[in-house]
Chain length 140, copies 4
């Protein structure tokens, strides 16, 4: 997903304010649900009454990003459990050099009870598809 | 630091949108610099030309927080290096039950060169004070 | 309402990014509902199923605000209609000099139908109280 | 400019939280500087040391926008002064029906002194071009 660093992302030190990176991680996951898995967040939340709260989120910041830069974020499925999905989301500059590596784990929950749900079967299939694709690229 | 969960923090699922937690972690660190260490972010950045970019940030979300709740955040110095400081920032509800545990590592850098700096000696003393204080409260 | 200008509010030009002022206007209105009118936004939205979308919002920026400053916002009820309320929200620095004047009009709507509602009678009484109070302070 | 309404824009009432519209107005102006006027905000602020604080901003909200919708924003130059520029920024849904009309006035200032500047001549020409273009489309 392409992301352009604008005025709203930057702090008085002239670099991206890190809570804005958390927003960009969410945007990447949301974009993947819509365009990758074919279920947008409106359908997921309002129609299917499923929420996907994040339970773990680790950031490693490799280099600062500045106003006017264009970043690319990529997403890989690292693991899936009964109700959880672990992703790696990487951000790089146009020179391909890494800026940020994020590991995100979220769980599927019923919005009324907030209890965890088994990953819905239609989504499970699509999500696993992203995992295999990524695995096929690596040595293991 | 007391934090009241308002409309701006919450998403359509009715719980705190996690990038807002990243903002609250920053607010807690900023509050500590100002009221704990006696050097506010304006003095640090504009006058002393020092920035403190975050290099690592790990979140563990323990329970969702909802509109109208009051949270308390607490901060402990976990470790200091030549130019880096590692903190733990915990958020709890009014019932003292944990909502979020964050580990934050930031480094002191010169704002012009963006090169790392030794922790300024006045700040080092104050920061170490918070470490000792925290250590003296625990069994180890 | 007291507001401390922090890192999150400021842009690379070193002054408050204006969308953050819109957030502070919302915070002031939300604070007034909770502490002035006695009905917080959680009760209003989740329990009573009433939303109060803003239909008009005019800002006049009088002077920039900077990192580290403390502002005070004040709120006056300018007019009430069948379902609408018009407010003036002013922000000043610690020297009392104005920074921002905002005029906000919102309407009460039913959250299911999104149709306008007559102002609930309990709230109408409290809101009118704020109008009289303000009027009693001025010459007209 | 195309804008996709995502999770980050929406509040617990399920509609766009109005401070996010203020952010989208800024994004539209920033996009116009970069792609329309040929001077991006990084060049303007960091290289040329010019800021463009907003002095007046009026919003009229015509209809709520919801998660998952795609909006289009358009920008017209309404008037230019010695140092000020007045714009109209309109947001519409995919059905072309209006959602929001914003009027924005900003001034060119020197970032060191924060004193107003005459509109730089290269920008003045480009900005006036947008005014003529818009005028040529209307009956007056």
């Amino acid at each position: 997903m392409g992301l352009e660093i604008g005025f709203k992302h930057c702090d008085p030190a002239g670099i991206v304010f890190y809570p804005r990176y958390a927003e960009m991680v969410n945007d990447t996951v949301e974009h993947w649900f819509k365009h990758g898995l074919g279920v947008d967040f409106d359908c997921l939340h309002r129609v299917r009454r499923i929420a996907i709260p994040t339970v773990k989120l680790d950031f490693e910041f490799k280099a600062p990003s500045r106003l006017g830069e264009a970043l690319i974020s990529t997403l890989i499925v690292v693991a899936t459990g009964r109700s959880s999905v672990a992703l790696e989301v990487d951000f790089a500059g146009q020179d391909k050099r890494p800026r940020l590596r994020a590991e995100v784990t979220f769980v599927f929950v019923d919005m009324e009870s907030m209890k965890s749900l088994e990953i819905p079967s239609d989504l499970k299939r699509s999500i696993e598809g992203y995992r295999s694709a990524a695995e096929s690229c690596g040595p293991d």
